[in-house]
């Protein structure tokens, strides 16, 4: 944890919020969120706002107060949005600011869009040493489409490497504003933050809902709390919610009793209600976030609204992977842990799956790769599970000649027979990078079956490149490749834009004629041979010799495209076994028998689980894992 700097004397905090929740007029409310790339200092800036407005005193302050979970702290990212009510006086008027936090990663675009929809304005926060990044740009476009008022801010002006003039020029170009419109702040020192709060009050419009209409509140986040059950964050658009109201979720038509309603400042405080334009939380006793979904509209049970607020969408898993416990006896623990996570993560889906190679596990659906990694890490950390995951894959739509259509989320279930066509998800990807890397980025995207859409210079040095790419290509270490080829300067954002027909085939890997489901992959026809060669060569090195010859084949249908052979083991015997060797030999045998329990038998071939794990690990394929996203 870093050092919290004392604030200058003239900004000694105002102690209490003069505006009462539930009766704060819309005219003094300002709802805003902060759009920023991870590392650009959003959390630090938010901390300074908490201090300046007096809602957190300096002693209680800890760095990145709002990022609650350890895992977020370590990765320096914000997964879940929260909303904090901040009092701020301009002139002699007391205003109420609601700062709505936004997740900062590509997988959570939908959550970001709901946070934006709960706001009238957005602070566009850019690191003055790095300039705008692709995801920030994408979120900025989202905010502009939503007609939000944008306040451009360059952060970290205290850094020696800061080049605010240069990056201000980029923002001027993007926003069509004047250079002097761009605020320069330091979240670290607090410099300029007070001026930013003033600008939020002056420039961001007050909410303009109808206070007398039937209640309509939009859910922009939903969190499971062990003690309270689901805590739902809402922005009231029309009408007002009262503490004892009964509410209805408009997408599911389920009705709940309100157990508690309140605001966050920055700890939860129960209130009499929430009025039009206000932001706060509600608790209904529901235990599962899937029953309180982001984007849904909350209305009153007694006088319900007739139309829901727009923009609700079911979370749709885009990336699938099989998760298996390394120790098979952990299977029930994995199921419990997934169920627990799902309470807090409506986008996570899972169903039981059996693999010949890996045993019992679950096919899990995720919003994207980061989501997958977060879930996996939380499972391992919070439930102390050792897991193995299959290579992630996308969803394929396979139409057969007989007119039947199947949706494939597990490559080993890819249908056999006469296939008419296969569709795969397509994304629109945006890469921002220094212009010297244009060539390498184009090479990378071309290798990954990309189609160039446009290229624009943000400034003389930086360029924005747009491609359409198959999602399947993105989830296979694209980000790592981009980072390494641009020396860490390239940033990526993408959104799905539909499906495309592609020449895809299923490649099976066979061990002594038996298919090994864990290595089955759906790949582009041109890539099939390379995939087959890579996997068979890898497995030949990893699988120990057996007492018989073991062929390893890669095949498309019945056509073998690559073959390796593990030669038969000829000698497996200890030459000597006398007095002193016996104990040693027996202990070795005991160890081997223990090890055999962790072996999987494919046909007659004993394969140590380590071999599967190593074969599924792509990190030795030249990509680097665990880079900060």
């Amino acid at each position: 944890m870093g050092v919290v700097r004392p604030l200058p004397e003239e900004t000694i905090p105002v102690p209490a919020d003069p505006n009462e929740p539930a009766s704060t007029p819309q005219s003094v409310i300002r709802n805003f969120c902060i759009i920023a790339h991870i590392d650009h200092g959003k959390s630090t800036l938010a901390d300074r706002m908490l201090q300046l407005t007096g809602v957190v005193d300096q002693r209680a302050m800890r760095d990145q107060y709002l990022d609650r979970m350890d895992i977020e702290r370590e990765r320096g990212i914000t997964i879940k949005a929260q909303a904090v009510r901040l009092p701020w006086r301009v002139g002699d008027v007391d205003y109420t600011l609601n700062m709505i936090d936004t997740p900062g990663h590509v997988d959570f675009t939908y959550e970001v869009s709901r946070s934006l929809a709960a706001s009238e304005g957005a602070v566009l926060l850019v690191d003055s040493a790095q300039g705008i990044e692709a995801q920030t740009l994408a979120n900025l476009y989202l905010a502009m489409e939503g007609d939000l008022t944008i306040i451009p801010v360059l952060n970290k002006i205290d850094l020696p490497a800061a080049d605010p003039d240069r990056y201000a020029a980029e923002l001027v170009r993007l926003l069509g504003c004047e250079p002097e419109d761009i605020l320069r702040v330091s979240g670290k020192t607090g410099d300029g933050v007070s001026a930013l709060l003033d600008r939020i009050v002056r420039e961001i419009p007050a909410p303009a809902g109808d206070p007398d209409a039937p209640i309509r509140a939009m859910i922009f986040d939903s969190i499971y709390d062990t003690y309270r059950g689901v805590v739902t964050y809402v922005r009231v658009i029309d009408g007002a919610l009262k503490a004892r109201d009964r509410i209805t979720m408009m997408s599911t038509r389920t009705t709940h009793e309100l157990l508690e309603i309140g605001v966050i400042s920055p700890e939860p405080v129960a209130t009499k209600g929430l009025a039009a334009g206000e932001v706060g939380y509600l608790i209904t006793g529901v235990k599962d976030v899937r029953r309180s979904r982001v984007g849904d509209t909350v209305t009153g049970a007694t006088r319900p609204a007739t139309t829901a607020l727009g923009g609700y969408r079911d979370p749709k898993p885009m990336v699938f992977s099989g998760l298996y416990p390394i120790d098979g006896s952990d299977y029930p623990n994995l199921r419990d842990a997934l169920e627990r996570l799902q309470l807090n993560d409506s986008a996570l889906s899972f169903e039981p799956e059996t693999s010949v190679a890996l045993g019992f596990g679950f096919r899990c659906g995720f919003l994207g790769l980061l989501h997958l990694e977060i879930v996996r890490e939380r499972l391992e950390r919070e439930s102390d599970l050792e897991l193995i995951s299959t290579a992630p894959n996308v969803v394929y739509t396979v139409a057969m000649d007989d007119g039947s259509v199947s949706i494939v989320t597990n490559p080993s279930e890819f249908p056999e027979g006469k296939i008419h066509e296969v569709k795969e998800p397509l994304v629109r990807a945006t890469v921002i990078a220094p212009s010297e890397y244009i060539g390498t980025i184009i090479d990378l995207c071309q290798e990954r079956r990309g189609v160039l859409q446009s290229m624009e210079y943000l400034s003389e040095q930086r360029v924005e490149i747009r491609y359409t790419l198959p999602l399947a290509e993105i989830i296979f270490d694209f980000f790592d490749a981009l980072k390494s080829r641009t020396r860490g300067y390239g940033s990526l954002d993408y959104e799905t834009i539909g499906d495309q027909v592609a020449d895809l085939v299923k490649v099976d890997i066979l061990l002594q004629g038996e298919k090994v489901d864990a290595f089955c992959a759906v790949v582009h026809k041109d890539e099939a041979y390379a995939y087959g060669l890579r996997l068979t060569a890898k497995l030949r090195k990893l699988i120990p010799r057996q007492q018989f010859e073991v062929p390893i084949q890669a095949a498309i249908g019945s056509r073998v495209i690559a073959r390796e052979t593990i030669r038969a083991l000829r000698k497996d015997v200890l030459a000597k076994c006398y007095g002193g060797d016996i104990t040693r030999k027996r202990k070795l045998l005991e160890k081997q028998k223990e090890g055999k329990k962790r072996m999987k038998t494919i046909g007659r071939v004993d394969v140590p689980q380590e071999a599967f794990i190593a074969a599924l690990d792509t990190s030795d394929d030249g990509s680097k894992k665990n880079q900060k996203r």
Partner: protein
């Protein structure tokens, strides 16, 4: 079942690069002396006698191993052997073996050993090729082996020869030369061991430094097969994976005791002992402290030289019985196996690892291919 006594003599003129046994070259003794060792060993024999008093044991086999037992004077070895005889007495046909380095015995010493009651000498020939002997750090000259064999014959001692194959750089042709050289000596018994490079040896260090290539198990398999061919043609029959004898009477009964689960007492530094379950006490194995100085000090203080001991569970005794019994040509009684293991016998026969005729008679024995893959069989059956 018989009772064996093993005497470990922990001295060598030089330590060989592949050796990880309890043995000490002159520079490593830290004040321990052969004289001190002999006194201590006699002291341990006295302790052993006391421990087994009232059990009515007679010694069937004695084996002097090392190290290099023949670094001790024949009279000293005779004194130790007398100690064994005094402790328990010998069975009428007792087998008494001494390991010998071909350089460290003469016609006289061998005659003297025979006179003290030794019946058998095991010569560490290892290879008949000078280049290979040099890699193994063996100091003897190949022609000394023939001299030693002659001396042993003259003294009416049974002769066994030890060979090592798969030494780094050794070719199949060189191994064939060693086989021929050994067979020319017409031994009664042969042991052939595949070289294992243990990490804690000079050879292990050389391997880590990349100075020598790792052993090639495929080449070792070919070498084993070459040995089996040649030995069988010369009238030597295998009776354990690494051991061949000119008829049943020439098998090493002492070593058979290890594989059949007999009791034995190991005397000397680092020596292992085993006593099967007796009355209420479970099967037990223990081993002595390794350094001769510490060993001698313990005994001088009237303390047991034991370093560690283990009591074997029924499961472990069973595991060892399978692991060791499978190595023998006579094989294992299938009745000994657990039901689940017995069910696997036919598959192992089908794989060509177990002998079909033996299986039909209710015994579990290895085929020639199976001998090279014995650990596969043991893992399936133990």
């Amino acid at each position: 079942m018989g009772f064996g006594v093993y005497l470990h003599v922990p001295f060598c003129a030089v330590r060989c690069g592949y050796c990880d046994f309890t043995t000490y070259a002159p520079g490593e003794l830290q004040g321990a002396t052969p004289e001190g060792y002999v006194e201590a060993a006699l002291g341990e024999l006295e302790m052993a006698r006391g421990a087994l008093v009232g059990e009515d044991r007679v010694v069937d086999t004695v084996f002097f191993g090392g190290g290099t037992p023949t670094l001790l004077e024949p009279s000293v070895l005779g004194r130790l052997l007398d100690g064994v005889r005094d402790a328990w007495g010998f069975a009428p046909d007792a087998e008494v073996t001494v390991e010998a380095n071909p350089d460290s015995v003469t016609e006289e010493t061998l005659a003297s050993l025979a006179g003290s009651g030794f019946t058998r000498v095991s010569l560490g020939m290892q290879s008949g090729v000078g280049r290979v002997l040099a890699v193994l750090d063996r100091t003897h000259r190949p022609e000394n082996v023939a001299r030693a064999v002659g001396g042993a014959r003259a003294a009416s001692l049974d002769v066994s020869i030890d060979l090592i194959y798969g030494t780094p750089g050794e070719s199949l042709g060189e191994w064939q030369d060693s086989i021929d050289a050994a067979l020319d000596l017409a031994p009664d018994h042969l042991s052939a061991y595949a070289l294992v490079i243990e990490p804690a040896t000079r050879m292990g260090a050389a391997l880590r430094r990349g100075e020598i290539p790792p052993v090639d198990p495929d080449l070792q398999a070919e070498m084993y097969e070459a040995a089996e061919e040649a030995f069988a043609a010369a009238g030597l029959t295998w009776y354990e994976i690494s051991n061949w004898a000119r008829g049943e009477d020439y098998r090493c009964r002492h070593n058979l005791g290890y594989w059949r689960g007999a009791d034995w007492w190991g005397i000397g530094p680092g020596a292992h002992s085993y006593l099967g379950a007796r009355g209420d006490s479970p099967a037990t194995r223990w081993w002595n402290v390794k350094h001769p100085r510490l060993y001698a000090e313990r005994i001088a203080d009237g303390e047991s030289p034991e370093a560690e001991r283990e009591s074997l569970s029924g499961e472990q005794v069973h595991m060892e019985a399978v692991m060791l019994g499978v190595r023998l040509r006579e094989g294992l009684d299938a009745e000994v196996l657990r039901d689940s293991a017995r069910d696997r016998v036919s598959a192992l026969v089908e794989d060509g690892l177990l002998d079909a005729d033996q299986a039909a008679r209710g015994r579990v024995g290895l085929t020639r291919r199976g001998r090279l893959l014995a650990d596969v069989v043991v893992r399936a059956l133990a």
